[in-house]
């Protein structure tokens, strides 16, 4: 009996696998009405919906089954839905809509015949699978995640395309994308890539570029640190560096004498003296800035003008603004300029340079300008990474490898050295010691800096060379040498710098650095180095370090995580190379990745989760980024009227993790109590002012467009309006639309409202203080009455002189939203504080 049953099933199955029907032509394409259900993840959708449909297909579509034997490419695993999900993904990637068109025989034949109608539920399920698993799967409009398809990250889920755009836009453009922009990227990755690239223009992007670069190059030390740029570079060599500043201060001093002679502080002489003093201060300050930011401006110039990123090393010019142009060049620019415009950056050359007191560059060398090799020859870069007579440019070589080739020489041998060698080897660049491994890489590059002295001055030994006099006086020195005999000869890798004589000047190139720059940018590692250079700026952390301690409990997990990240970085580097070193292409690829977008795990493996503990969202924003996010999301700036910069960049900059590029060069990755206090201070100082402004009569609100001062949360309509506004606020500030969070925010709003309504004497004003209202200390609540947008047409000022108390509306003609007997606004203040101090506002 059992035999016959099996035989019957086999016959039926075989028949099913071979029967043929005419293709369906009069039914609609199931793909036309398919859409993705955003409430399910891909895995859940497959498990609950697709797998029950496809199970019937496994009779033929399995390894060894009749379908593969006839050439079918869909090969399922009858006992594993997980394996089958992978197989379906692969199949859709290969064959697309055939997943649904074949079994429905929609406009094509199927060897197994038609299994269900094109308009059936099963067909719709498979159609959704085609949409989900296609290369350009549409994504949901909310904050749902999508599964990562990146190799090595298939157990993480990513923020969807719209949220990716939002995150990138806040980072690079300092603004929230509009609804249309978010909608436009939902369709496919191509649209998202395009939108990401469009973010890479404008002042915020430029500021991001420069700040990210400075986090490595640290040349702003000479802007914010104890040593100023002019002082550090001036003296013998840059002959004109002080000229403009000196003239300005002398003029100011002369005018001050005239002012004092006048005896009248309001005299014309004193007015002029004050103006000249201010001008001199600007010239001094902006000259410092121009010097300190020169390599950062070169990067900005190269990237924003869409030049190959390799220009940052090969540029045969230096970036100048009028404050440096006038004292270092003075001849190159053709177009007119405003001498006081610090934002007018253009290429120039250092012409006003002398190699000794009274000896010009041209007189000694025949050159009219200093040689240029992009950042490598930047005076302030070399100053920031100085050398000594025994270091012999090795530090510069080390950082050159690190910044531009992604090679940290000090990590090539993270181990104990032979103590005998450490104490006895006098020339680590000589073969035979274990030092040689690293020094053979580093020392030739150090030699390529041969013309640049310890403090970055070109040919600083009176224009002959940059060797120390003690070496020149030694028996090792040979007339005309530019580098130390006994050191490894200048070069890069296995290639020696062409020289006119052994250890002599470069031959055929302007300078050793121009030769070196060409080699570096031609080296495949230049792309990898660029990836590492921008890693911190994009992801807020450094690349994972290769785990070395094999005995550590988490070694294996960390190794897997490191390898996956390395593979990604290698892919990005490849894209970067193929784009002719277009940095924007690289940045787009980085932001498309799980490193930027991961939000949740689909694995519960604790070790795996821990190894990826710096992945994806949750990056603590820097003070610069938090400031921009606050402004972008609220429309307002946390800035005191008399300050030039916002509070996060002034009083609280170092407290909130800023750097001074000098002693403080690393940004903290974790919040501490003082940082938390800063965020609370921000929220407390701004929230009530924002609410006051947003609800002021005549103001077009940014945050509270769905409610008014009279929206009653006690009514059904009122609650709905408040909830809608909360949904919008939470999306703006946190980037999510989670219903549970909207419920929680609503509960807080309502609780604050009910609390106020429950007070014996609820106050009618946004503010109630001991000073003005004789309030008891515990009942005080301050609100800054500030016009946060003084440039619009609505003046925000409370006028007590002639209040019409007939109705709240008439009173508000004088008092505006400051008068709120409805008690609807202070709850909004509380909610705003709650949102602004949340971890999802402080991170991205």
């Amino acid at each position: 009996m059992r035999f016959f049953l099996i035989l019957a099933i086999a016959v039926a199955t075989l028949a099913g696998c071979s029967q043929g029907f005419e293709p369906v032509r009069d039914k609609p394409d199931p793909l036309a009405s398919a859409k993705v259900n955003c409430t399910q993840t891909d895995s859940a959708f497959f498990e609950k919906s697709v797998w029950p449909v496809l199970t019937q297909c496994t009779a033929c579509h399995q390894t060894g089954g009749s379908a593969p034997a006839q050439g079918a490419r869909l090969v399922l695993d009858p006992v594993s839905s997980t394996n089958s999900l992978a197989a379906v993904r692969d199949y859709v990637a290969l064959a697309g809509d055939r997943l649904v068109h074949k079994p429905t025989e929609y406009q094509m034949n199927h060897g197994g015949g038609g299994f269900f109608d094109a308009d059936s539920d099963d067909a719709l399920v498979l159609a959704e699978a085609v949409l989900r698993f296609g290369a350009n799967a549409p994504q949901c409009s909310g904050d749902e995640t999508v599964e990562s398809r990146e190799s090595g990250y298939d157990d993480v889920n990513l923020i969807n395309r719209a949220r990716t755009l939002r995150k990138a836009s806040l980072l690079l453009a300092g603004e929230l994308p509009g609804l249309a922009a978010a909608d436009a990227v939902r369709a496919d990755d191509t649209a998202l890539r395009s939108a990401l690239r469009e973010l890479m223009a404008g002042p915020v992007f430029e500021a991001w570029l420069k700040t990210s670069a400075n986090d490595h190059l640290l040349t702003r030390k000479y802007l914010t640190g104890m040593t100023e740029a002019q002082e550090a570079l001036g003296g013998t060599y840059y002959e004109g560096l002080y000229d403009r500043t000196s003239v300005a201060f002398e003029a100011s001093d002369q005018a001050r004498l005239a002012c004092e002679s006048s005896g009248d502080p309001s005299s014309a002489e004193c007015v002029e003296a004050n103006a000249l003093q201010q001008t001199a201060g600007v010239i001094f300050r902006e000259t410092q800035r121009a010097i300190a930011e020169e390599p950062l401006e070169l990067i900005r110039h190269v990237v924003t003008t869409d030049r190959p990123y390799s220009d940052v090393l090969t540029a045969d010019y230096r970036m100048m603004n009028p404050f440096t142009y006038e004292v270092l060049d003075g001849e190159t620019w053709v177009a007119p300029y405003d001498a006081m415009d610090p934002d007018d950056w253009r290429p120039g050359q250092v012409r006003r340079y002398r190699v000794d007191w009274g000896v010009s560059l041209a007189a000694r060398t025949g050159r009219n300008t200093l040689p240029s090799a992009g950042i490598l020859s930047s005076p302030v870069f070399q100053l920031r990474f100085p050398s000594t007579e025994t270091n012999r440019n090795r530090a510069r070589a080390r950082w050159t490898y690190n910044f531009f080739l992604g090679v940290d020489i000090e990590r090539l041998a993270v181990r104990a050295m032979d103590p005998e060698e450490l104490q006895s080897v006098t020339n680590p660049g000589a073969p035979g010691s274990s030092c040689f491994g690293c020094h053979s890489i580093m020392d030739p590059v150090a030699g390529a800096f041969q013309n640049w002295g310890n403090n970055g001055h070109y040919l600083d030994r009176r224009g002959y060379d940059a060797l120390p006099q003690t070496y020149v006086d030694s028996e090792d020195y040979v007339e005309g040498d530019r580098w130390y005999r006994g050191q490894l000869a200048p070069g890069f890798g296995t290639e020696a710098l062409p020289t006119l004589s052994p250890y002599g000047p470069a031959n055929g190139h302007d300078d050793g650095l121009t030769w070196l720059a060409e080699r570096i940018v031609a080296d495949p590692r230049f792309a990898e180095g660029t990836v590492k250079f921008w890693f911190q700026g994009v992801f807020g952390r450094d690349p994972l370090l290769q785990p070395l301690a094999t005995g550590d409990a988490d070694y294996d997990d960390r190794r897997v995580a490191w390898q996956a990240e390395q593979a990604l970085m290698s892919d990005w580097a490849q894209s970067f190379r193929h784009s002719d070193y277009d940095l924007k292409v690289l940045l787009v690829e980085m932001m498309m990745s799980p490193l930027f977008r991961a939000e949740t795990f689909s694995t519960l493996d604790a070790g795996r989760q821990a190894a990826l503990n710096t992945l994806g969202v949750g990056r603590l924003l820097t003070p610069e980024q938090l400031d921009r996010k606050f402004t972008a999301t609220t429309g307002y700036s946390w800035k005191l009227d008399w300050q030039n910069d916002p509070q996060l960049l002034e009083n609280y900059y170092l407290f909130y993790g800023g750097i001074d590029s000098d002693g403080i060069t690393e940004r903290p990755a974790e919040l501490n109590s003082l940082m938390t206090s800063v965020s609370m201070r921000l929220a407390n100082e701004m929230a009530c002012s924002i609410v006051l402004n947003e609800f002021w009569p005549g103001v077009s609100p940014t945050l509270f467009s769905g409610v008014t001062i009279t929206t009653d949360p006690g009514t059904e309509a009122g609650e709905a309006a408040v909830r809608d506004t909360l949904r919008s606020l939470i999306w703006r500030l946190w980037g999510v639309t989670d219903d549970a969070e909207i419920d929680a925010a609503w509960s807080l709003y309502k609780a604050l409202y009910d609390q106020r309504m429950g007070w014996d004497e609820p106050q009618n004003y946004l503010e109630w203080t001991a000073l003005w209202n004789d309030a008891a200390p515990a009942e005080e609540e301050y609100c800054g009455i500030r016009d946060l947008n003084p440039d619009d047409s609505v003046a925000i000022a409370v006028d007590w002189s002639n209040v019409d108390w007939s109705t709240p509306q008439t009173a508000r003609e004088s008092l505006g939203s400051y008068y709120n007997p409805e008690q609807t606004l202070r709850p909004w203040v509380g909610v705003l504080i709650y949102l602004l101090t949340d971890i999802q506002f402080l991170t991205e």
């Binding site: 007579e389 609370m680 201070r681 971890i839």
Partner: protein, 443 residues
């Protein structure tokens, strides 16, 4: 898997050495800290201990030239090694006499520590974590983790090696003027108008909502660790934040200068002052302090002398200021202070052509506490500043070729410091390779 189970599994797997402060635990353990205070002073760049606490007054062969040279110019010029009343040797250089005369009774000097490298980053990592590989926390981070649960400023750091291994967070304390506005963010600027932004009962509702929100986030075990860990640090930093008000009691009327008498940048005193204020307020367990300027490849005597003088200034100021505060406020800072001074490594026992000194793997550490130590000098080096080991009883073995002697390595120093800091429990997840040598009996 429940979150608690997940954490247990991680701890068992050694992935989360201490699930510190998760959830409400930090709130529950908020308390004023009255225990020992652990300060590390980092002499950044590689200090020359032959001109400090491992003085060398003789000559040796310069391997570059084969010539016999003076190790130090102060010796060449007739200076000789000095000894304090307590028997500590020091070099007659910089402001050492004042330093050792003033503080010698409180010191224990460990000489001959072999950093086994002369690369800065590797030297710093090895000296201050006990191994070359990345990832081990500084002892100050371990101490803060062990003793600072719920404290808002448990670990202060001004730079140096401050790896936390995710156990805790560090705080940079600067600009006391802005700090005043951070002590109570609900108060408007008291010097302008002394009022508050929110009524106390309204604030309580907001706080409840915040805590519920953090609980929801922490319960989402699928969220990436980066976000949940950030939420955890937000929670723990909020938990003890109310205690910041205690700073008000100890804030100085006059701030320590940030330049020395010659106008050179010298921020160490300000770092010390703020760290002591925070410790006096019971908010701090440990602090990293930094004295920059020791990487003297050129004009060594001038630059190293300046850095050492500033370091001496700082150390003397630290104890004097602690004593002054004890007198003013009745605190017990002097009795609670435990201090270690160390550097990347040492410097060559000869001068280079530029009158500088380059990197040398041997260095020292100076430990200090009120009342000093039973033994005030441990380890040592030869007269030409080469390695010597110690015997099992920690006496110096004068034979550089005796293989039974143990060279003191950073792992031994860190083992000692962890023990001294009472942080061995939390440190046990970061085992050190110390072999048979054990310095812990010294403290």
């Amino acid at each position: 898997m429940h979150r608690r189970d997940l954490l247990k599994a991680m701890i068992a797997a050694g992935l989360l050495p201490m699930a510190t402060g998760f959830g409400r635990r930090a709130l529950a353990e908020t308390t004023r800290y009255e225990g020992p205070i652990h300060f590390t002073v980092f002499a950044e760049g590689g200090w020359d201990v032959t001109s400090l606490c491992d003085p060398k007054g003789g000559t040796r062969v310069d391997p570059n030239t084969g010539n016999t040279v003076w190790i130090n110019h102060w010796a060449e010029q007739g200076g000789s090694v000095q000894t304090t009343a307590s028997g500590l040797d020091y070099a007659p250089f910089a402001d050492n006499a004042r330093l050792f005369d003033t503080l010698g009774e409180r010191m224990m000097v460990i000489n001959g520590i072999d950093a086994q490298t002369n690369a800065h980053s590797a030297g710093v990592r090895h000296t201050f974590s006990g191994r070359f590989a990345d990832g081990y926390p500084a002892v100050t981070a371990l101490a803060a983790t062990q003793h600072g649960q719920g404290l808002p400023l448990a670990f202060l750091s001004n730079g140096g090696y401050r790896e936390t291994a995710g156990l805790t967070q560090f705080t940079l304390m600067q600009d006391p003027n802005a700090l005043r506005d951070l002590i109570d963010p609900n108060r408007f600027h008291p010097t302008w108008i002394d009022t508050q932004f929110h009524r106390t009962d309204s604030l309580a509702l907001i706080e409840q909502a915040r805590q519920a929100r953090l609980d929801r986030l922490q319960a989402r075990t699928a969220l990436t660790r980066r976000l949940t860990q950030a939420a955890h640090f937000l929670e723990s930093s909020r938990a003890g934040r109310d205690q910041l008000a205690a700073l008000n009691e100890f804030m100085p009327d006059e701030l320590a200068p940030v330049t020395d008498a010659d106008g050179n940048w010298h921020p160490l005193l300000r770092q010390i002052q703020l760290a002591l204020v925070s410790a006096a307020a019971g908010l701090t367990v440990s602090a990293d302090l930094v004295q920059w300027g020791f990487d003297t490849h050129a004009t060594h005597d001038t630059d190293q002398g300046r850095a050492l003088t500033q370091l001496s200034d700082g150390l003397i100021y630290l104890w004097e200021e602690a004593a002054r505060m004890d007198q003013q406020y009745g605190t017990n800072l002097v009795g609670r202070l435990r201090l270690v001074v160390a550097s990347d490594f040492g410097r060559t026992p000869w001068y280079n052509d530029g009158e500088g000194k380059d990197h040398w793997p041997l260095g020292s550490a100076i430990l200090m506490r009120d009342g000093g130590f039973a033994t005030n000098t441990v380890g040592g080096t030869t007269g030409s500043f080469e390695s010597l080991g110690v015997n099992s009883d920690l006496s110096l073995n004068p034979d550089p070729n005796d293989s039974s002697a143990s060279i003191i390595l950073p792992a031994h120093l860190q083992q000692l410091l962890r023990y001294w800091a009472g942080a061995e429990e939390v440190g046990s997840d970061f085992p050190l390779e110390t072999g048979t040598l054990d310095l812990r009996s010294l403290v």
